[in-house]
């Protein structure tokens, strides 16, 4: 049960019980007082009336009755003279001068004055009747439950609203928007929730700094490692121009190694970026278009070696994630396939949908991987006895797939070659929290 429900129900229960008990006790007290007054003191009322009448005559008695009506709203006082006229002019013809709750009339007389009969009884007139109806235990109970229910709901809402808004802010950050801040309305609060919001802001600021300094460091590393390579490349070009025709094979070798080192530096940096689980963008990405771009680039590369890349495209398929990372995963697997593929044979690329997963299948006709080594090919710098290392490309791809909640698998093909399958969750089949998060409808 959520926080709102818990606070609401517990406050409601406590308030309903308290309210019910209080009302029940007051009701019992009022009843008891009325009964006591009626049962025990008609004589005392009569005596007081007698005193008033004796002292101030009829006006005195009138004032006394008015006073008693005020003092005892739960009781009615009737003073009827011998001609059956009521002192306050009320009709008494239908009045039972005896009955439940009524006492035998007391006589109130003054020496040499008129005589009255005093009737004291529990109120039965309409307005008091309504009040009594209200005091019925069942009605009271319903009222107590309704009022306390509404009150507790308001209270619970008041208490949980900042937490709900805090949660919305935290989810924005969790979805990768590291620049997001808690809403100022929350962060300004002086209570514990406000403190929590400010702490979260401090924490994300710290994270932001860490990520930024890591990015800066990676850029610096790239610069420091590639600058000597850039000088080396130019130096060999100069040397080559100075001695045309000499040591061609060696120069070409140097250029190739420089390129390899350059590629390796790029891979190490890319791997380091995905290894730390960077804050990821969660955009809707059209997978087939990403694959198409990678195929296009791979073709340009493959053509030089007399290799082919075929692409069986599917309908549009949308996944959610970081386009650059997804592209690098596809690109790394595809480059690997082109590199190991047999000249003349095609590298086959296909996209499609399998259940709730979007699938990219990249298959080559290369040497394949010994079955015992298959589980290990996604490890960094893994190498088999038969082939040179594949570097970090497959490890980067594996990491990217994991970050996106997908998976990667490799198997040997019948007839030779390796087949790598990349499975991404489709945007439609993603987890509910991500789908609800920004509320945007996916195409």
């Amino acid at each position: 049960m959520n926080l709102f429900g818990r606070i609401w129900l517990s406050y409601w229960l406590v308030m309903a019980l308290t309210l019910g008990a209080t009302l029940a006790i007051s009701l019992a007290l009022v009843e008891k007082r009325a009964d006591d007054a009626v049962r025990t003191s008609p004589r005392a009322f009569a005596q007081a009336a007698q005193t008033a009448l004796t002292r101030d005559g009829r006006d005195g008695l009138f004032l006394w009755v008015m006073g008693q009506r005020h003092a005892h709203p739960e009781l009615q006082f009737y003073l009827v003279d011998d001609a059956d006229h009521e002192l306050l002019g009320r009709r008494v013809s239908g009045l039972a001068l005896a009955g439940p709750g009524a006492q035998a009339p007391q006589r109130v007389t003054a020496p040499g004055g008129p005589a009255y009969r005093l009737l004291v009884r529990r109120t039965t007139n309409f307005s008091m009747g309504a009040w009594q109806l209200m005091l019925q235990p069942l009605v009271l109970g319903v009222l107590a439950v309704a009022i306390s229910g509404a009150g507790s709901a308001a209270l619970a809402h008041q208490l949980t609203r900042p937490v709900v808004r805090l949660r919305a802010g935290v989810r924005t950050i969790a979805a990768g928007d590291i620049e997001a801040r808690m809403s100022p309305a929350i962060a300004r609060r002086r209570d514990e929730v406000g403190g929590l919001a400010r702490d979260i802001d401090r924490m994300t600021a710290h994270l932001r700094d860490l990520i930024e300094s890591k990015e800066d460091l990676l850029r610096d590393i790239s610069h420091e490692l590639r600058s000597p390579l850039a000088r080396l490349r130019i130096a060999t070009s100069l040397l080559r121009e100075e001695r045309p025709g000499e040591g061609m094979a060696a120069f070409e070798r140097i250029d190739r190694e420089v390129e390899r080192l350059d590629g390796l530096i790029g891979q190490v940096l890319a791997f380091s970026r995905v290894q730390a689980g960077p804050p990821m963008a969660l955009d809707a990405v059209e997978l087939t278009a990403v694959v198409e771009e990678a195929v296009h680039d791979a073709r340009l590369e493959a053509e030089c070696d007399g290799k082919r890349v075929t692409f069986a495209d599917a309908t549009l398929v949308f996944i959610r994630g970081d386009r650059a990372l997804i592209a690098s995963a596809v690109e790394n697997v595809l480059r690997n396939a082109v590199r190991f593929g047999r000249p003349g044979a095609a590298v086959e690329v296909a996209t499609g949908v399998v259940g709730a997963m979007a699938r990219v299948r990249i298959a080559d006709r290369g040497p394949g991987i010994p079955p015992s080594d298959l589980p290990r090919i996604f490890e960094p710098f893994f190498r088999t006895k038969t082939s040179s290392g594949v570097g970090l490309g497959l490890s980067i791809a594996e990491r990217v797939l994991t970050l996106h909640g997908g998976r990667i698998a490799a198997r040997n093909r019948a007839g030779g070659g390796l087949e790598v399958e990349l499975l991404f969750p489709t945007a439609a089949g993603e987890d509910a929290p991500l789908a609800n998060f920004d509320g945007t409808a996916l195409p």
């Binding site: 600058s227 000088r231 490349r233 420089v258």
Partner: protein
């Protein structure tokens, strides 16, 4: 130093005052092109200068962004090779400052190896981009491509009119529905190439050759960056109906006059 945000950098490009004005000196095929290399890696710049010198260019060097700006106050090279990562005034800032004043062709180079640098550089109006380490022959080819393209651009040609879109090659300026669209030289060339065959799909290969004057290579996203900038700039106009469409299979086409609403 903290990297500049795209938002900070976008304004000066759009507000470039000197658009349309011809540079002080226009390189012609017959002249020796003068190249300014701006790089804080002295040894690299020296060797690159030597290489380009042998390739027939006249080379001068600046060791920092600030030094480059000082040189540019009195001298106008035909093309600048600009390193991004330099202390104090870095390459992107230098590019921005140079672009505020004139349409000098600029090729950015960097060893930082990040796609964001390329996108920012091209958005700020760099004509091309190379990642270090590069084959110096490739740089020489790109320098020639940029210069040849500019040379062709300054040959007198009639303005092209396509619906609400008007391109004036002599001034490298474009208007859409009478409103000026501020384009970098490279963006202008891409738009002109697209406008040459409206409604027809042109491959990325042929567009790269026509507009950037060089063949398309693998993992080369320069053309796509230019196109995405163009789309944004054309989309800013209140006149609808001019669209650059991406075609499956790797190409683009310019479509006109199809009411979207």
């Amino acid at each position: 130093m903290r990297a500049l945000d795209a938002a900070d950098l976008a304004i000066p490009v759009l507000g470039r005052a000197a658009r349309g004005a011809t540079p002080g000196r226009v390189w012609t095929m017959e002249q020796t092109a003068r190249i300014l290399i701006v790089d804080d890696d002295e040894e690299f710049a020296r060797m690159l200068g030597e290489f380009l010198g042998r390739q027939g260019f006249l080379v001068s060097r600046a060791g920092s962004g600030r030094a480059a700006l000082t040189i540019l106050e009195t001298d106008t090279p035909d093309l600048i090779v600009l390193d991004i990562m330099m202390p104090e005034v870095d390459g992107l800032e230098t590019l921005q400052k140079v672009r505020l004043e004139r349409d000098l062709p600029i090729i950015m180079v960097t060893a930082r190896g990040q796609a964001r640098d390329r996108i920012l550089g091209l958005e700020l109006g760099a004509d091309d981009y190379l990642a270090k380490p590069f084959d110096p022959h490739e740089l020489a080819a790109r320098i020639r491509a940029v210069l040849r393209r500019l040379h062709l651009a300054f040959r007198p040609r009639d303005p092209v009119c396509l619906g609400p879109l008007t391109l004036t090659p002599a001034a490298m300026s474009a208007t859409l529905g009478g409103e000026d669209v501020r384009l970098t030289p490279a963006e202008f060339m891409v738009l002109e190439a697209l406008a040459a065959q409206p409604g027809v799909m042109q491959t990325r290969e042929s567009l790269t050759e026509r507009a950037l004057g060089r063949p398309l290579t693998a993992y080369d996203r320069s053309l796509d960056t230019h196109v995405s900038n163009l789309r944004r700039k054309l989309g800013l106009s209140s006149v609808a109906g001019v669209e650059i469409r991406a075609i499956r299979g790797g190409g683009y086409s310019l479509t006109l006059g199809e009411a979207r609403r």
